[in-house]
Symmetry: C2
Subunit: 354 residues, 2 copies
DNA sequence: ATTTGGCGGTAAACCGCTTAACTGAGGTGT
DNA sequence: ACACCTCAGTTAAGCGGTTTACCGCCAAAT
């Protein structure tokens, strides 16, 4: 292995000078610089990260901590990983993957090893014990997602308010007045603390009120079968509905196939707009789902950048809320009949096919 | 930060003794052991990975190198990442994510940093320049996937032969004699070197021949729309087909919806069996796809374990070929009519379903 | 002519841990 | 009784860098 000593020797300078040049931490004359650089080239020198880390107390490694066991990884999980890894590389950091429990025990253990300069925390809970662990360890961190009181915490998250607003407006502008939200299942004890669901739910109720729309919200867990079931209930209980927003990814698929199976034409009889989805999934339905594309890649990247800013103590990135952006598909159209106004007519459907 | 020196001091021993105890690299009397352990407990000592790495020349970090830019990540990518990360943790290693180009340039750069003890290489090409880079760097590595000549290389891969055999047998046993494979698009220059597609194609031709079945293979890239197009062509060119195997994940979705759109009943009119898929995706079609579940988690885990074995120079794990296992869904049934071909009487079935 | 001070460069002390070589106090064999 | 092992521990030399003093030199200031 070629070390700095070798380079220094060949360039006829001291090892310190090489270090100063490499880190640009002290000026060096053009002549010596040239000699050193030539020497490095000749020898094929590569600076050893580990030694550097030990001496400088900065490893240039950051961790992405995500809930282990949790096998309900959506499509967007790998987007987080890859976008974060790329952002890290770009800044000359490495990203390690840390599957950790939600209680923070494993996280504390890992932090103790002194391997990482900072942590990007995924799937942040509304009240997250891991944050205390990070604080106690005095380890810089950034959140993807946020707690109930995120003020002062470096974080990025989906802008649920804007996302829902945009979604509702999209439908409203096309004439829809009878909307429904197929939401997350907040009654499920595992999720009534789940930020995205809570926030979308709240945002929707607010926006619907603003638009003077009736508030129809059906809980639904994130599976296609749950989606089918939810839409059946919707048709039975609120047949006047002309457009449905679906929060969950897999549920949205279920909603579309449930509608088709029930003989409804999408978007003829009912429009469907998926709220947080990735294009690959949306393309799977027939017709292709119109969706708000979940900003997974942006979040992974921004979260990482926010963390690295702290580490390089540049001016900290302010909290970023990124809305999901509309990605048109083929499941939204104008409602079939002129809008029925207060209490007026409603429609079933009878398209069938086989 | 509590260092080994602190511990040694408090326990009244030399720092070396602490190290020997920690690494179990030299015997220590019960009495001193107890004193040291107590001291560590009192002080809350955590051994510093970086210093250890520098001194021992083993970082206990491994990299997962995967092709950057390649945004055609299937659902199984995050399975690789998480299963590898978990396997690494279990053995007290850390996993870093390295998005690298296929030419090996970035990989060489990263290896030079001396950060990792070894590399798990994903998406191995049939002739992969990155392997030479790893060899030159004398870095231990394991492959997920394999080259044309994988002998001598530590690797794990899907057992395409068994997978295809099992798939064909499954259909054959249910009475199908007119199969078709909707394969990868090997004509696409980007992919005619893509191992999984090449191997499935080859395996299918072999197995079909063994079973005395006509060989019908349609190329198809991995999108739902390509799947739809492919199945339309299939219906036009080979209307006698009673069951279709689909290699690609998204294509399989397209095949099902294409069939439904064309007025075919699945599986009544045509059975569909997806070859390499994850359950989450399969659940999205209606009816749910019958599939061979791609062994993503196993591969990530086994690849990591194989690498770590090398690093700990235990007896090396032999190359592992893991077949995809059948996961029943609702898209395979017996063919409707008795098979029209020459030869003896056979019985088809006429189960239908709606 | 002497002082001052900036500047390119060096020496050496770490960073926290591993490990080879060494020490010294019991047992053993003869 | 003496040399010879064993065995738990210790000393100290690294691992490959970073970083804080410090030094000598020359130009500008006095």
């Amino acid at each position: 292995m070629v070390t700095m000593k070798d380079v220094a020797q060949r360039a006829g300078v001291s090892i310190a000078t090489v270090s100063f040049l490499l880190n640009d931490t002290k000026p060096v004359t053009a002549a010596t610089r040239a000699r050193i650089e030539q020497a490095m080239l000749d020898l094929g020198y590569r600076r050893n990260m580990v030694a550097r880390a030990l001496a400088s107390r900065r490893t240039h490694i950051i961790a992405m901590a995500y809930p282990a066991l949790e096998h309900r990884f959506g499509m967007s999980t790998s987007e987080f990983f890859t976008s974060a890894a790329e952002a890290a590389r770009k800044e000359d950091y490495h990203l390690v993957l840390w599957p950790v429990g939600n209680d923070g025990v494993e996280l504390r253990e890992l932090l103790g090893q002194g391997l990482v300069d900072g942590v990007v925390l995924m799937e942040v809970q509304l009240d997250d014990p891991r944050i205390d662990v990070l604080r106690q360890a005095a380890t810089p961190f950034a959140l993807i997602g946020r707690t109930t009181e995120p003020a002062g915490l470096s974080h990025v998250d989906i802008d649920f308010d804007t996302t829902v607003e945009d979604a509702v407006r999209h439908l409203y502008e096309r004439g829809h007045r009878q909307l429904a939200l197929i939401s997350g299942d907040l009654d499920d004890p595992r999720f009534h603390e789940y930020g995205p669901w809570v926030r979308v739910d709240a945002a929707y109720r607010r926006v619907a009120a603003e638009y003077g729309l009736p508030v129809v919200v059906l809980p639904c867990s994130d599976t296609t079968s749950a989606g089918k079931a939810a839409v059946e209930r919707l048709l039975a209980e609120h047949p006047e509905t002309t457009a449905v927003l679906v929060l969950n990814e897999y549920a949205a698929i279920g909603v579309v196939s449930g509608l088709k199976r029930a003989g409804y034409d999408v978007p003829g009889d009912l429009s469907v707009l998926a709220l947080l989805m990735v294009p690959e999934t949306a393309a799977m339905t027939d017709p292709e789902l119109t969706m708000m594309r979940t900003p997974g890649p942006e979040l992974g990247q921004l979260g990482t950048e926010a963390l690295i800013r702290q580490l390089e103590d540049a001016d900290p990135l302010p909290p970023q809320l990124v809305p999901a952006k509309l990605l048109p598909g083929a499941t939204v159209a104008a409602p079939r009949a002129p809008r029925p106004k207060a209490g007026a007519g409603r429609r079933g459907a009878r398209k069938a096919r086989s």
